[in-house]
Every structure is written in C-alpha cells, then in structure tokens.
Symmetry: C2
Subunit: 799 residues, 2 copies
C-alpha cells in the first residue's frame, strides 16, 4: 500500500496546492506551523509523500535524493494529517442557478430523473457483473494453462533432483505474470495497487482521492488482478472487484469519459459530487455482490463504509445495482459453465453448499466458537502489526517503481519456492476420491490413485483451496499439513498485502482461517470421544475462516451477511456473528483493522462516525481555521485571481460577505462560493462590465459548471488581462446563499455531527452579528482523535 503515499505525490502533479510544503494559515495559531516547518527543514517530516515521488513526469530532485539517505528521521507518519486531500461536496450548492433549474422542473421531470437513476444503477450492476465475469474466466483459463504446464513438468521429473527444474519453471512462470501485473501498477497507475477497499472507504467517507475512479485505474486494476492471481501470489480477486465497481459507477453515472474525451450528453444532472458519491456507493455494493454473490452484504458494506445519511430510495437503488450485478455474473457464468440459465450459482468465490447434518451446531459448541473468534482476533492483530511495520518499511525504502516491481517478483518467486518445498517434504497422501475430485490433483510421491493433499492446498487457486478445506471429507488433510500450511501462508499473505499489485486480502485471510479452523476441528474430534459425530472439520474451517477474516478487516455486520450469503445457509448466521464480534473486540484491543491502518498511514483526513467522546471541552472557536479569506458579493476580478493564485493558502471555499453601506459594522455573511465555481466564472469571464456592454451573449448556466466537473482547470491556466483585473464580478447568482453556520460556542461533537450527517465540506462559524469568524473543514475535525492518552491532535502536513 505504498501506493496511497505515492498517490499523494501523484496528486501533487496538478500543482494546485503549492508543492513547496509551505506552512498554511489554515493551521491554527502560528506556533505549530512554524514548528512543523522547522521540523521539515531539519528532517523531512513533510517529505514522506515526496519521498515516494517517483513519477513519470517529475524527475527526482537532488534534494530528495539527499533526503533519501537519512530516512531514520521519518516519524510515525500516522500522526500526521495530509492537507492535500480535498473533501467531496455532499451538500448541494443551492445557488440561484440551481434553484431556478429545480423550480423549472416539473413533477414529471423529477420522475424521469428518478428513472434514470435506476437505469444508471442497472447499468452499473450489469457492467460490474460483466467485469467480474471476465476476471473470473480469464483467471481460470490462464491458471488452467499454467497448472497444466507445471503439472506435466512435475510428473515428468518426479525422480529426485529433477524437480528443481519444475521449481524453476514454476517460479519463473509466476514471476513473469506478477512482473506484468506489478509493472502496469507501479508505472502506470499506482492507485490501482492493493485491494482498493481503503481508497473506496475514503471516497465514500467524503475524501477526494485523486485518480481513484478513473478509467485508467479500472483497466490497470482488472489486468493487474488477473496477473497477480494467475501469478500464484497469496491474494484474492474479490477486493479489487469493489474498486472496479466503484470506478464503473463513477464513469457510467457521468454519461461521458473525460479520459476518452467522449461526452454522450446524458445524465448531465448527475455531474456533481452528491449524485456521484451515491452512485459510487452503488458501484461498491455491486462489486461486493459480484465478488461474493452477496447482494445484501454488498448493500450493508456500502452503508457501513459509506452512506452516513441513510436514505431509503438510495438504499433500494444500491440494492438494485447489487442484484443486477449478481444476476449478470450468474447468468454469464452459467453460460460459461454450460449450464445456461441455472442461476443458483453464487459469486466469484463460491464457498460451496453446506447441507445436511453437518450444518447443525449445539450449545456446547458456542464457547468453542467464541474461543476461535478470540484466536482469530489475535492472529489478525499479529497480521496487522506485521503488515504495519512492513508498510512503514516500504514507505521508507521501497518507493521507486522498479524496486516495487522487483519486490513483487521476489514475493512471487518465494511463494512458488516455499509452496514447492512444502509440497516436496510433505507426505500427506490421500486417496483420489470420486466424489470430491480435485481439479488438479498432484500425485508426486504418492502411490497411484492417491494425491498429495499439501499440493491441493498450495497448488490450487486460493478460492479452490478454501472450498476444499470447507467441504472435503474428514481425514482429507492431516493436522501437520494444515499447521505448516497455516504458518507459511500466514507470512506469505502478510508479506504480499501492500505490494504494488492489484490484489485483495479477503481470500488469503479466509484460507489461513479455514486451515487453522479445520485443524481445530480435527483436534477436537481427536480429543473428544464423541467428537467425530459433531466436530465436522468443514464446519470448524468455516468458523476459523470467519474469525481470521474478522480479525484482520474488523467488519462485523456486513461481513456476517457476506459470509452467510456466500455459504448459502443462514444456519451459521449466529455463530459467525459471535465469532466476528469476538474477533473484533479482541483485535481492537491491540491494533486497528488492516484497512484503517493503511488509511492512517496515508494521513487521510478520515472522519469517523462520531467525534471523540472526550472532546466536549473543545468548541468551534478552537477547532475552526481562522482568519478566513472572504470575498465581497461584488468583488474585483484581480482580488479573486490573486486569492486563488495564492499557493500558500490554497483555500477551496470562500465565505461571501456583504458590507452594509454607510455603516461601520462588520461585513455580514451572505453566502459561500467554491474555488471551482470561481474558476468557471473566470474562464467564462462573467464580469459585470462585460454584461453591461452586452458582450456576453448568453447567461452562464448550470451546464457550464457541469461540463467543467470534475476536472476543473487550475487557476494558472486561466488568462486574465490587466484590464480585466479591474473588472468586477457579481457572485450573487452563483454563491450558495444559505450556507450552514454554527455559533462559536458550539461544542466539537455538535459541529462534528452536523458536518458528518450532512456531508459538508465547509462549515462557516459566525458570531452573533452574523460576521464570519472562522471556517471548519474536514481537516479541522479529523485532526482530533482518541489516542491511548486521551484526546490527541494530529499535525497537519503538506505531504
């Protein structure tokens, strides 16, 4: 996940924010920024993002090279909050243009709009399902080819010594696939690395992660995940589906592709953050739905991670998208599997059907399940801590694309070697069973009619291995095999997550858990005399898988539903819930969930559900940024251009004030205008003087703002002549005349609640005379978090 850090630097390409790492007046007081700047001069505090600034366009400066020599001074960078990330605007900008449009629209118009929302959601679901289908089929085909080659090779050289050739072949094949996957990720689109879930979580939280929902990201993601899965890494193809769904949603809902420069002139109404974020929620849900065949789980995922304001209609649309996505996937896969029309087939990962007597459980098993949940929580915490240190290491040392590619190839080769060694030294031979025929049984040193069960665990795609652990007959695996497998796979998966490849952590987690869960089941059956009747290893494998996954990602509600839907049986609902809750409680005691760790390491201003409990003593006065740059309702163009060009401030929202004439009272707040709006106004030269001389033929419309969305040009690209600088701009029509305000004495939890519930980007703090005294933004709120020693304040940084 060095990728987000890198993306930080990638986003700096736009140069909107002044890459100089200058202290900003947005910071409260003046002590802190100075102190920070000092630190940055001394060590490189601000350089974390830039340290990984290896870019196609920018060359690495000498200064940065020198910094690279002394990376030990880099502090734990999760204590920082990056200023680079902007907020999404979930609040509608209800300016005059918008209100006029809404008022012109008839009842029928709104109905059409609603229908087109449903159509878009249907399209999102369809395309997401299709992508899942393509990934699945391509992976299966390529993996099939690879396994056949290796299997034939192994069978050819089963005499001692000869196998080293097979090993090399295997390692090289894997590395080659992974190399392709890593190259496209590292060089073309670093944001496509990893599972994409942390990025989507941030996006749904309201943080604008640059380039995260672009077409290029999607292409790289899809190709990358195919390569890494086929490359035999300890990864899954499920996590990336969520990201893919989100990109599809962001693309389809806009009715155009900025990358391909095609505008279909449809869905223009949806070209704003509010609508787009809703669709991205639907896309993420559709992704989950396709990945796990879990439409309800998808909806819950989108809600748990994203929508702070639960809207019934929105939820139904999300549900619809999920439904269509599963349906599409099932339909095409049923054709592919030549069982056309049989739609009972779940998503990408198929846990198989739990049926019959094995599904029941008894009261006395509940404590066992809870104990397994605790183990899962512990192992998950260990996984997360290891991965945390690994990620810190990667941020410091492994930041150049070529290094990243090499690391990925190394992991691929090591994975192959370790697997091979394990298979080689294991002698867990099992009879080839007609019923549970493995697709690629490996005889190796076993007698005829038998196969090596360690090979089953390592040699298959992880999805198949999970299924085999869930469903193979008791006795298929011996305990030693499972123990060794758990151990090695645990470290491999931990090492793999965070590489510059597109890959998810769901399946490896499930696989680790299923392995030790099955081990538990076998041990229980051995210990207890009656155990063999109730301690079905498959059942315990399922519980173990849930525990391990819960311990790593720490989701509860959505994960329960996903697991239940993936197993196709609600009987296990209750134990899975218990296990996931236990795993979460135990895991949270030590360290946060994996996704949250990665989000923190990237210094994203992520807003949690509630303000820290002990923050009631803070008020808006302490929290807000001040002084605020205000604009007059009728403002000189020169002032506006200068304000926007000021790289040291880089504000994005400006309260608009009006001076009551002939009165020395302070100016009163009368609206709020965004940088993006001002830029469109400047571009179209909406100046009072020009309007008077009737040089502008048409009035500026909402369409002009929508056309510029979301890639508004930087202020530098707009040319304003010296004459024009003297003109005036009337902001009345374009500003939001009714911004939300709070008094200065409002407590932080209250400010937080308002901000979070409405998805705001700027919240004006006004005094009792309606004078602007400050502005609260996402960073001001995200700064405060509950640490081990009570309330802590993160430092703001320009990285």
């Amino acid at each position: 996940m060095a990728n987000i850090a890198k993306k930080v630097s990638w986003s700096s390409r736009t140069d909107e924010s002044g890459a100089a790492g200058e202290g900003t007046p947005l910071l409260n007081g003046s002590e802190q920024p100075r102190q920070l700047r000092q630190l940055s001069e001394e060590g490189g505090l601000f350089r974390i993002g830039r340290l990984s600034t290896v870019d196609l366009e920018e060359d690495v400066t000498a200064e940065e090279e020198s910094l690279r020599g002394r990376p030990k001074e880099i502090p734990h960078n999760e204590k920082l909050l990056s200023l680079k990330y902007e907020s999404l605007d979930y609040d509608n900008i209800e300016n005059q243009l918008f209100l006029e449009e809404e008022r012109r629209m008839s009842h029928m118009g709104f109905r059409c709009l609603e229908i087109s929302r449903w159509v878009v959601c249907g399209l999102i679901g369809f395309l997401t399902g299709l992508i899942a289908c393509v990934i699945d089929i391509v992976v299966e085909q390529l993996a099939g080819v690879k396994y056949h080659i290796i299997k034939e090779n192994i069978e050819k050289f089963t005499e001692p010594g000869g196998l080293s050739i097979s090993l090399i072949l295997w390692a090289v094949l894997n590395s080659a696939f992974v190399m392709v996957g890593a190259i496209i990720v590292a060089f073309f689109e670093p944001i496509a690395a990893g599972s994409g879930i942390p990025q989507i979580k941030c996006y749904l939280n309201g943080v604008k992660i640059p380039r995260v929902v672009r077409l290029k990201t999607l292409v790289v993601k899809v190709c990358g995940v195919i390569c890494s899965v086929v490359g035999g890494l300890a990864v899954g193809k499920e996590g990336p589906m969520i990201h893919s769904g989100a990109v599809v949603a962001a693309g389809v809902s806009q009715g155009r592709s900025t990358s391909l420069k095609r505008d279909f002139k449809i869905f223009e109404y949806f070209r704003r953050d509010t609508e787009k974020r809703d669709f991205v929620s639907a896309g993420a849900a559709a992704g989950v739905s396709a990945a796990f065949g879990a439409p309800v789980g998808g909806v819950l995922f989108a809600l748990e991670e994203g929508a702070s304001f639960w809207n019934q209609m929105l939820t139904w649309r999300i549900f619809f998208a999920s439904m269509v996505s599963t349906f599409t996937l099932n339909f095409f896969l049923s054709i592919y599997h030549q069982k056309t029309g049989d739609l009972s087939n779940p998503g990408l990962i198929n846990f198989g059907r739990f049926e019959g007597d094995t599904v029941t459980y008894n009261l006395y098993e509940i404590p066992l399940f809870i104990a397994m949940g605790a183990i899962g929580g512990l192992l998950g915490a260990l996984f997360n801590v290891l991965n945390y240190w690994l990620t810190i290491f990667r941020i410091r040392y492994v930041h150049r694309p070529c290094l990243q590619v090499m690391e990925a190839m190394l992991v691929a080769a090591v994975t192959a070697t370790v697997s091979f060694t394990m298979i080689y030294f294991s002698n867990d031979c099992q009879p080839l069973d007609q019923e549970h025929a493995e697709e690629y049984p490996l005889q190796l040193f076993c007698a005829d009619g038998e196969y090596n069960s360690m090979a089953t665990a390592f040699f298959n795609t992880p999805e198949r291995s999970v299924r085999s652990l869930f469903h193979n007959q008791p006795g298929t695996y011996n305990p030693l095999t499972l123990g060794l497998f758990t151990l090695t796979y645990f470290f491999l998966a931990c090492w793999t997550y965070g590489l510059a490849v597109s890959a998810g952590v769901f399946i490896p987690s499930l696989l680790i858990g299923a392995a030790w869960g099955r081990l538990c089941g076998i041990l229980l059956a051995t210990i207890s005399s009656t155990g063999s009747t109730w301690a079905d290893p498959g059942k315990y494998a399922l519980i173990g898988a849930a525990a391990q996954l819960g311990g790593i990602v720490r989701m509860t509600l959505s994960l329960t539903v996903i697991m239940v839907e993936a197993t196709g049986n609600v009987t296990y609902g209750l134990p899975i819930m218990l296990v996931l809750m236990t795993a979460k409680i135990v895991g949270d005691y030590f360290v946060e969930g994996l996704y949250d760790i990665h989000i923190k390491l990237q210094s994203v201003p992520f807003l949690h559900w509630e303000a820290p409990a002990t923050s009631h003593w803070l008020t808006a006065r302490e929290v807000m940024s001040s002084p605020v740059t205000c604009l007059n309702r009728i403002e000189k163009v020169g002032t506006i251009v200068d304000t926007l060009s000021n790289t040291s401030t880089n504000h994005n929202g400006f309260p608009v004030v009006v001076q009551v004439s002939g009165n020395d009272e302070p100016a009163k707040l009368c609206g709020l205008i965004l940088r993006s709006q001002l830029i469109v106004l400047l571009k179209h030269k909406v100046f009072v003087e020009l309007a008077r001389s009737r040089l502008t033929l048409r009035k500026l419309q909402l369409k002009d703002f929508r056309d510029a969305y979301p890639r508004f040009p930087p202020i530098q690209s707009i040319h304003v002549s010296q004459d024009e600088r003297e003109c005036m701009m009337d902001l009345t029509e374009f500003m939001n005349p009714t911004p939300y305000t709070v008094p200065q004495d409002t407590s932080l939890p209250r400010v937080f609640k308002l901000f979070r519930a409405l998805g705001l980007r700027h919240l004006v703090v006004a005094d009792d005379k309606n004078k602007v005294v400050g502005l609260v933004t996402r960073k001001d709120l995200a700064r405060y978090h509950l640490g081990k020693h009570g309330l802590e304040e993160l430092q703001l940084a320009q990285t």
Copy 2:
C-alpha cells in the same frame, strides 16, 4: 386500527393542548385557521379524533352525540395533520449543565457508558426473546387444547346434522378467546391494538406517540396477541413482537418503571429521547429477530424504518440485541421441544428448510416470478384499499369499546363459520402420509387413513398452514381447495386487520400468498409438459407468499432479508428481491403500503426521507411558523408561567433572546429552551432572587431533569404564588446556547435535510442580524406532501 385515532383522543386526556379545537398561531397566515374553524362549526372537521373519544374517564357529551348523527360531512381525514403529536428530541440539548457533566467525565467514564449500552442491548434482546418464547409456548398449548376439544367433538358427530353442534362449539370457543383479547385492548389500552408496527414506525421516525412504550401496553399486547391467535382469527403473532421489543427496550434502558414507581438508579444517563430512541430501535430489531429468526433482517428493519443517521456503533448494538434475542428464543424453545442445546431452530415462524433439488430455479422462471410479483402487488393494493375503506368506516361508526369488542367477536364467529363451511363442503381427501404428518389431521368425511386437506389449511394455526403449503408434497392440495381458501382468507384477513385486538398482518399475508402461489405452481405444472420437474409447488408458494406480503406492506430490503433468513436458504434471495420490488412498484401505482395508510389516517406528522421533489420553490420563510414566542435570557417568572399556560398556543420550544442594552436593535437569538425544561425550573423554583437569598441549598443538576423525564408534569400542576411571579429566572445555564439556525431564504429541501438528518424538534429561522423570525417544527415540514396534482399542503388540525 381505529385505535390510533382513539389514542389521539386518549392523549388529549393530559389536556396540554386545549381540547377546544382552537385555531393556533402556529398556522401560517390567518385565512386557513378561520376557514378550518368554520368548517368545524359546520360539520365536525376537528371532531374526528373526538368522535372516537370514548374513554373511561370522559363522558360523551351531548354535542358529540349530535355530531354522530351526521357523519357524512367528515372529510377524508388523511388530508389533515394532527397538532397533538409532539416530536422526540433526537438532538442533544447541549446546555451548560450537560457540557459540564460531559467534561467532567473521563475517558474511562465514556467507556463504562459504552459498556452499559451493550449490557442494556443484551438485556433487551434477552427479554424480548423470552417474551417471544412465552407467547409461542402459551399459544401452542392453548391452541392444542382447543383443537383437541373440537376435533374430538367433530369426530363424535360426523353424521350429517350433528356437526352444527361442533360448529357452535368452535365459534363460541373462538369468540370467547377473542372477547377476552378485545376487552383488554379496547378498555384498557387501545394503543395495543393492531400489529403496533405503524406506531413503532412513527416513534422511530421521531413522533412521540403517547403511551406506546409503556409497561401496561406491553402486558395488554402480550395477552391480547395470545387471545387473538388462539381465538382463530386470521392473524399472526409476529408483528406484535416488534412492538413488544420496543416497549421492553424503552423500559429496560431507563433503569426504572414509572408505572410501577420503581427506580433502580441505574442507566440514568440514558434518560433522554436521544438515547431512548436508539434503544427502541434495538428493541424493534430484537422483536423482528425473535419473530422471524432473522437477526440481520431485524437490523435492516430498524434502519429502514428508523435510524436516519446511520451510526456504526449503534448498528452493532442493534445487531447484538437481535442476536441475543434469537439466541434466547432458540435456547428456550430447544428446551421446550426437548432438544436442549440445538440452536439451529429459527424464530417464531419457521418456514422450514428448503433443501435439495427443489431449491434451484432457472432463467425462464424469472418472468414467472416477476408476473407473480405483479399479482402480489395488485392483490396487495386491493387488500389495502379495502382495508382503507374499512378503517374509515371504523373510525366513523365503530369507536365505542363495546362496539369494538362486539365486532371482534363477530369476526371470530364468522371466521369459524366460514372455515367450517369450507371444510364441510370440500371433499379434498389426501392420504395420511407418514412423512408430512399433520399435527391435527381431520378425517371428517374422508376414508380411513385419509384426511381433509381444506381442514389442514383452516384448522391449523396460520404458521403451520404456511409451512404445510411450502413443504407438503406436490398433490397434497387440489387447486379448488387452494382457490377457495385464498378467496375466503383474503377477505377474512382484510376484515380482521384493524380490529381492536393485538395481532399482526404478516402471517395472514404470507398465508394468502402461499395459497395462491402454490396454486400457480400446480397450474404451471399442469400446463407445461415438463413442468412437473421444475414447477415445485412449494417453491411457488414461497414466491407467492413474498409477493403478497410485499404487495401489502411494501418493504423491500428488510423483507428480503427476513424472508431469506426465515427460509434458511439464500438461493431464493434473488427471486425474492425481484418479486418484492415488482410487488412494490405495482402496488405503489395504486395505493400506499398498509402501514403508511394507517399512519396517514391518524394524521401523524410523519417525515419521509426527503422533501417532495417539487418543493424547491418553498423557502423557510413560507414554511416556518411565525410569530414565535421568545423568552428573554433573564425572564420574569410570571411571563413564563403565562406563556406556558396559554392553551391556544401550546408551544414546546422557545427561542431565548438577549436585548443588546442601550441599543434599539432587535433582540438577538442566544439559545433555545424547551417547555419541559421550564417546567422543571419552575418546579424547583430556580429564581434569581431565591438564589441570592441562598434559600436554595443546591444547584439544579442534570439529574433533576432526568428524574422528571419523560412524564413532565403539566404547567397547571405547578403552583406559583403571586410574589414568585415577580421573580426573575436566569435561563443561561439551562438553555441550549447553540441551536441550529437557517436563514429565511433556505429552500424547503435544504431545511428538510437538516431537520431530518439531525432529528431536530425545533429549527430556528433567523435573519441576517441574528434576529428570530420563525420556528420550523415537524408539522411545518410534514405538511407538504406530493399528491396526485403536484405539491399538496395538509391542513393542521387540533384533533
């Protein structure tokens, strides 16, 4: 459901709002109220609530008797909005006392609070599960006794003519049970009638429905539901579980019982609307969870109906309560069924397990499912329309408790007679099968070793009948039996819903749907030559049940999950979703869902998720109530008492203003105080003069407010002497110093969003000088709704 209407009048017992039906300054302008008053003098517009005012304490006045003679002038009263319902305060009152308490609290304190929240949720789940268990066992035992008596009687008199004795016995037994159930509901607690889901929906929406979460309501509800189910009405025991869970939650979370006058001095922190409503959500979820064995469905139900602000921690707690509830129920039922410890047994209604080959479906079945969804939507709409007219009829004519009891008994007798007739004339004999043995097979005129299948459908509890329709072998029922059964049961169920008995509509809907669904399955198998292989009647029964239920109640997401969890198989997830969506779309074309109809008929100010789409042309200026009664920060006691005593206004929130001294500027808003707070202040005589003379020994604390919650005494009960009237009260410490405000130009959707997302009760409208110009309350927003001819405005009424 005449009960809510009656409750309207019941709530008027407190006399807070002046029963005179006076026009109120809260109404905008002056034309409307005058027109309304005129109407009321002419016809009885305001008397709808009072028409059904038959009360234990109030006598029916002569005037009302005379009104009863001319009920034709009563307009459709769903076009009214009652002023009687107050809002819950989901917004914390962050006054100085509160902030001081929060600031004093350590990090550990908050953690303890969080733990006690979990404990409370656990208790809620446990008690709800226990209640469900008690209901289930008592119903089963009583029904068993009843059926045995009747069965023996019937078998004794199977010769023609003799059966009329059995019929009479059956009808009398049923009527007796129903009479008991109806008497306790009609005379002791009318709010306990019906399923309680509309009332809980309203409560979760933020409307304070009087007496809905009291202990007495719970007792009546539990006894009532037992009586009505045993009485053989076409009702289910599932809906009332949701209400029961909510009452349990409201009780347990407060750590005391006001009815029993016991205060356990625990959970005092939770004694406010914000916390209480969260717990009530958990209780409702626990109720669903116990009723259907659907913990996830319960959570979704609570969210779909209630929580507008989706909070992750809250959701988990709700989930926990649901889980504990299912667990408790399963545990105790497993003991009762002598399979101790077998927890795989789902909730009250058990759809049985769908397994094996019957569960698959094919692509070509999807259109069939959708068609069935459409049928369900149509039948559901018909059901709702019929029930709507019936409810109007009941509100007009059947409002006296004795009439209600008689109607309930009539329905019970008719149900018994119709069932008996149907059984008598049907000759659908089926062989007694070892595998699917009915618990009460009725031989009647069938040959030995056979039983009458019509009797199975009518003679069992509805839950058993549903299960038998889902799972009995193909050929168990003949099409004519099913057709006749659907027809009669449809009308019986429609007539039954809304009687003054505690009963739910879920199971009857499922039963109707299962019957015609099975019929469809049988017909399909007959029509198509290959049909018998795929057209499993059980599968179509399930789809039909979903369609019918969806068509009546119009839930989608939560209902899908509930159905999936109740069937124990996710394979049907997709078809059930499709069916529910189709049913909703088709049904919504004609009429709203059953619960919404009943809510509308009670004129509850229910806030939907979003403001009507075409309401952008309305601004806060038009919507707000004005003028507003403001109080000064330091106000004369006499003024406060007079303001509170003014029955013609009956305001509940008062903006507090401060006059800038020596300036003729208008007074500025500085806070907001509630009626309930003022009453506590008056009760404790917190007057400036007394404080100076040190007569009050201790400062007023938050505890004093909590002790008075939620049954604050009326102003009339507080004695203020003439001397005291001259004292002053300082509101600074007690008012909320940072109320949310909006400018006058804010559009209605924007006001609505703020109000709904934060669960506000009062929203102050201020001008640009921070002067109070109006107040927006729930009724001001709920007034606007989208009718058939665009935006419509409901009339406010004192009923």
